[in-house]
């Protein structure tokens, strides 16, 4: 039992990630997809932070004792994953910023941010492009083929 519950951070990270992944796949609203992507990445941040924990560990910084001498109050947590995740958070924020910028532009060009409607419009665009690109003699065959 403690084997399962003792590592509850890891359960939470997996659950968070899966909620995010579900949102990315299942939500038609682009903003919700961006939020879900953020959740997915946050799960990973939690994983790295959990990995850094040492039993009874403290922050890895010099502490001043009463007599003025500086020394480590070890044991301390592994600082490396924290630093890595600081970088990953910046990356995550940048991705979110780019995603939102794209969504704003999509709203301007398509008039909607619902993925299924955009998909339909894209499909129509592609059909127009496909027909315009065909050689004239082949166009009739392909038309028939498309309806069949």
């Amino acid at each position: 039992m403690t084997d399962v519950l003792g590592i509850y951070n890891y359960w939470i990270y997996v659950i968070l990630m899966m909620i995010g992944l579900y949102g990315v796949i299942a939500k038609p609203n682009l903003i919700k997809q961006a939020i879900a992507l953020g959740l997915f990445q946050t799960g990973i941040f939690l994983y790295y932070i959990s990995m850094a924990v040492v039993d009874g560990g403290t922050a890895p910084i010099w502490t001043t004792i009463d007599d003025g001498a500086q020394k480590f109050q070890g044991p301390y947590d592994n600082p490396l994953p924290h630093v890595l995740i600081l970088t990953a958070i910046v990356v995550g924020v940048s991705i979110l910023a780019v995603a939102l910028a794209l969504i704003v532009n999509i709203k301007r060009s398509y008039g909607t941010i619902e993925a299924d409607e955009i998909e339909r419009m894209d499909h129509e665009d592609r059909l127009i492009e496909f027909r315009a690109g065909q050689a004239p003699d082949a166009a009739d065959d392909a038309e028939a083929h498309h309806h069949a």
Partner: protein
């Protein structure tokens, strides 16, 4: 013959070459950002050309240092921090080769980009375009030189973010560029997150981020390779990397992205981005996990070879049906990635060598073909099968470049594609019970004949819709295009250079002696 030891050393200063690995990344990073300040007109382009030219020169210097080095590699510790704590850049024959491809193609496409960008992107955004362009190259070059796994992730995200922006810059021609970019962003970020998670698991069990240290610890600690942590790390990395290199069926982002991106961007991406993804797969599978674990303990050969096979055949058939030529080439690119993956999934010298050689050959051919399409867009404003009718007489040099590139995709003798497919078929025959895969390689070539022939037929044997005169593409587009196509023919006729370096790299990856 191409002797890289003869490249003259322009800067005679003492010891500056020790810093080559890091200069290759920092120069496009710093000067890329400064591009925004270069103003309007031709200046951002000239600036970007100067920067990429410098990087190409540095890459030539670096490969000659690597080849001359007694250990066969150059190691650089950033800020003099030992590799246990700091980031190590580590360049061996394989890196140096991929680096040369990325830097070379980067330089040539930058030269090419001038007219194409003037045509396809509003004038007030050229400085931003070239800034993002250089940052994308910085990310791709960085992934290639670094020997630190977390650094791979960071540079991967630098290149991905900038590539999303570059694709979205096609929005003024077609709104599809926006959705293509967003779709790539979501899939790409999920893929990169899997890679980050895989790196996390590896770090958890080995306690290091350095690739070489990881490998040594995975090999030396008994029982570590059987632990579930390593298995999960491998699975996560395999999925993440397959997404990044657009291995079928995780390629869904690629066709739209290449179709709607500005033409110069399509040429750059087709030649470099997925190739760097394949390079990452090499590093993780061969250098970190080792051949024994990646290909004997785990059923990687089965998984990758079946994905690659399906990819080659399905995308070949899909490409035949396309009318938009950029989309046609995009599907063909997914198929070609299939060949590259098929090669290294065999895990024998000929297969991996074919894979490495095909990275170069496909970069040259597909880059050159996308450049030809860019030239057609420049003159006709579109590039579909209808618009190229009769174009063989109106734009003879452009269509000839496209045709020679297409012959390379088919694997016609005397083109570079023939050399890599030769190695691939050899690799398939070297593995017991794998000979049907050689048939797949040949069948894929047959499909390439069909989709290339459709374009060639339209260009040379059909009458145009109207008699409007069309001028040949400008010289600044033709020269880079023919440099790429010419190089692919050169490496097809004189296979000593590619053959030697790809067999050396393959033997080093497989650890079977020099």
């Amino acid at each position: 013959m191409l002797d890289l030891r003869q490249v003259p050393d322009l800067l005679q200063g003492p010891g500056w070459q020790a810093h080559l690995p890091v200069l290759i990344v920092t120069i496009p990073l710093i000067f890329g950002v400064l591009t925004i300040a270069t103003g309007k007109g031709w200046k951002p382009w000239a600036w970007a050309t100067a920067v990429t030219g410098t990087v190409f020169y540095l890459a030539l210097q670096l490969i000659q240092r690597v080849l001359a080095s007694p250990t066969g590699m150059v190691s650089y510790e950033l800020g003099n921090w030992p590799r246990q704590w700091g980031i190590e850049y580590r360049v061996d024959a394989l890196n140096a080769f991929i680096l040369l491809i990325v830097a070379g193609v980067g330089f040539v496409t930058t030269v090419y980009a001038k007219h194409s960008v003037e045509k396809e992107i509003p004038a007030d955004r050229h400085n931003f375009f070239y800034a993002v362009w250089l940052l994308a190259l910085c990310g791709l070059l960085g992934i290639t030189v670094t020997g630190d796994t977390f650094n791979v992730y960071v540079l991967l995200e630098i290149s991905s973010l900038t590539v999303y922006a570059l694709i979205a810059m096609g929005k003024d021609r077609h709104r599809g560029a926006l959705t293509a970019s967003l779709r790539y962003l979501i899939l790409g970020s999920v893929g990169a997150s899997f890679i980050l998670l895989g790196i996390g698991y590896l770090m958890m069990i080995t306690g290091t981020l350095n690739m070489q240290d990881m490998h040594e610890r995975l090999m030396s600690v008994p029982g570590i390779l059987e632990s579930r942590t390593v298995l999960v790390a491998f699975a996560l990395l395999l999925v993440g990397l397959s997404m990044k290199m657009a291995l079928f069926p995780l390629h869904m982002w690629l066709p739209r992205a290449y179709t709607y991106a500005p033409s110069a961007v399509s040429a750059l991406l087709a030649a470099t981005a997925t190739k760097v993804g394949v390079y990452m797969a090499f590093r993780f599978m061969f250098t970190i996990f080792g051949v024994g674990f990646s290909f004997i303990t785990m059923p990687t050969t089965l998984i990758l070879a079946s994905c690659a096979t399906a990819g080659i055949l399905v995308t070949g058939v899909t490409a035949i049906r396309q009318t938009n030529l950029k989309r046609l080439l995009a599907y063909s690119s997914v198929g070609q990635i299939g060949y590259i993956v098929l090669g290294f999934s065999l895990a024998n010298v000929n297969g991996v060598a074919g894979s490495v050689a095909h990275i170069l050959n496909h970069a040259l051919m597909k880059g050159g073909m996308f450049m030809a399409l860019g030239a057609i867009v420049y003159r006709l404003d579109r590039c579909d099968i209808r618009s190229v009718r009769g174009l063989g007489r109106k734009m003879p040099l452009t269509m000839a470049a496209f045709t020679v590139g297409g012959l390379g995709l088919v694997g016609f003798p005397l083109t570079a594609g023939f050399i890599s497919k030769w190695y691939l078929v050899q690799g398939c025959l070297d593995r017991p019970h794998m000979w049907p895969l050689a048939g797949v390689v040949l069948l894929g070539s047959l499909l390439a004949v069909v989709y290339t022939w459709r374009v060639v037929e339209a260009a040379y044997f059909q009458e145009p819709d109207d008699d409007r005169p069309v001028k040949e593409a400008p010289l600044l587009m033709l020269i880079p295009m023919w440099v790429m196509i010419g190089a692919s023919v050169f490496f097809g006729i004189n296979a000593t250079f590619t053959g030697k370096i790809s067999v050396t790299a393959a033997k080093a990856l497989l650890g079977v002696g020099p």
